[in-house]
Amino acid sequence: MKKAIVMDSKDNVATLLTDVDANDVVQVMMGDKTTETKVQEKIQFGHKFAMETITKGQHVVKYGEVIGQATQDIGEGQHVHVHNVESLRGRGDLA
């Protein structure tokens, strides 16, 4: 079974512990609980996918904290990374 981990109950992303292909069902661990999510695309080990729909402008949450915001709508099971998330900090380009 392909696996992923959620670091905090407030998170809307999970981190993959294996490589996955589109339509793989992934066992998602959070503490003692386990759920299943179908990923929508091929994603690498260590990368993240959305546990729920994240709309454009919405915060991306990992470790129970804000790690950035979505630059486009991200569907459940889609890859969450630099192509669809921007940082809210250290943005000299916006200063």
Binding site: M7, M29, E65, V66, I67, V82, G90, G92, D93
Partner: protein
């Protein structure tokens, strides 16, 4: 908990017993290098700073070089100056000799140049190496240890496995009366509010917010997005999306104890417990700063398998990434990837790193030490004139 080390005249304990050749300025490197060739067992410490630097930048270089000379892993120091620089060999020798260890200095221009400076330097080194070779290890406790912690080539396994496992070790060192120094200011951006909750005093909290704010302001003044510089391309390839994500994982490597103070780069802590050191995340500067702060040993969690090391302080590499543990095993001291596989707890993994720390303190050579990895690179915060 018993280790064994070399007790210095000031009561500090070295876990290595180096005789160092230290340039006070980049222009003296050529002389230092030639002496290093004559005495290959001496630790050759060259760098590019020491002159034509302004104010805080000059002070930072001087502080770091002094701290390196004072590092208890170094038994004796020969400082090489040119004679026209702003951070003089005489100044460094005087500061370092406050530890009462063997210190000599040589000023190349005053000696009449390279050919007359070399034999004089050789005489100093010959005596220092002879004296150091007769020192022996004696039992000591963990209270003698200043542990440096620095992460590098971070990926998403770092925040899940290696950093929290090392946090367990940091807590144990502090519970045993020791000191832990961690830092990398850019890698606190987005996580400073969590660290600030553990500040011992309002002043420590203020200092932490100040250094993080100064760091972020430097990024803003550059007009650039920090992403690409930090997280770097290797971090992004490893799944790290933003600096906030990296920071939230990075702060776990310091454990969960009270933050006693915020140090300047290369500054030696005045007390025991957990300290944060201001400075960049870039590996050579971060490791140099920790050695300057007096860390005798550094633990280095790495996702992607950085081979980096320090010449002064043995670096223990720990990875939580099972692929890195396999592919880069010649650069990894401890594999804690069983955490990711659900086969090990953080406490068990922390115990394995802690045992290795005790082994290394008592003399076991780390991977990067065996391979001779390391360089001095002082964080430069001003223009060269």
């Amino acid at each position: 908990m018993t280790l064994s080390g070399y007790v210095r005249p000031d009561g500090s304990v070295g876990f290595r017993n180096h005789v160092a050749i230290l340039s006070s300025v980049g222009c003296a490197n050529d002389v230092a290098i030639r002496l290093g060739r004559m005495y290959p067992n001496a630790l050759l410490l060259t760098h590019r700073q020491g002159c034509a630097q302004l104010g805080n930048d000059k002070e930072q270089s001087a502080r770091t070089l002094t701290g390196i000379g004072k590092n208890p892993n170094i038994a004796a120091v020969l400082v090489i100056g040119m004679g026209c620089e702003s951070i003089t060999a005489e100044y460094l020798a005087e500061e370092i000799s406050k530890t009462k260890k063997m210190v000599e200095f040589l000023v190349v221009l005053e000696e009449g140049g390279l050919m007359t400076a070399l034999p004089k330097g050789a005489r100093f080194l010959d005596q220092m190496i002879s004296d150091a070779s007769q020192m022996t290890r004696v039992p000591c406790g963990l209270d003698a240890l200043t542990l440096g912690v620095k992460c590098g080539l971070t990926d998403t396994t770092s925040g899940i496995a290696s950093n929290p496992a090392i946090g367990v070790v940091a807590d144990r060192v502090i519970e045993s009366g020791g000191t832990v120094v961690f830092g990398e200011t850019p890698e606190v951006i987005g996580a400073e509010h969590i660290l600030a909750q553990r500040a011992a005093t309002p002043e420590v909290k203020r200092d932490l917010y100040r250094v993080v704010n100064e760091c972020e302001e430097r990024v803003k003044a550059s007009g650039m997005d920090i992403r690409g510089a930090n997280p770097a391309p290797g971090n992004i390839a490893g799944g790290i999306t933003t600096i906030e994500e990296k920071s939230l994982g990075a702060i776990k490597k310091g454990g969960g104890k009270t933050l006693q103070g915020v140090l300047g780069y290369g500054e030696i802590p005045k007390g025991k417990g957990l300290y944060f050191m201001d400075g960049p995340g870039r590996t050579p500067e971060a490791l140099t700063g920790l050695s300057g702060a007096g860390a005798q040993i550094i633990i280095f969690p790495t996702g992607g398998g950085s081979p980096a090391g320090s010449l002064i302080s043995p670096v223990i590499k720990v990875t939580g990434n099972p692929r890195t543990a396999e592919r880069l095993k010649d650069h990894i001291d401890i594999d804690v990837s069983r955490i990711i596989k659900g086969e090990s707890t953080l406490e068990e993994a922390g115990e394995s790193v802690f045992q290795e720390l005790l082994n290394v303190a008592s003399g076991k050579a780390t991977r990067s030490e065996r391979l001779g990895y390391g360089m001095i690179s002082i964080w430069n915060i001003g223009p060269h004139m």
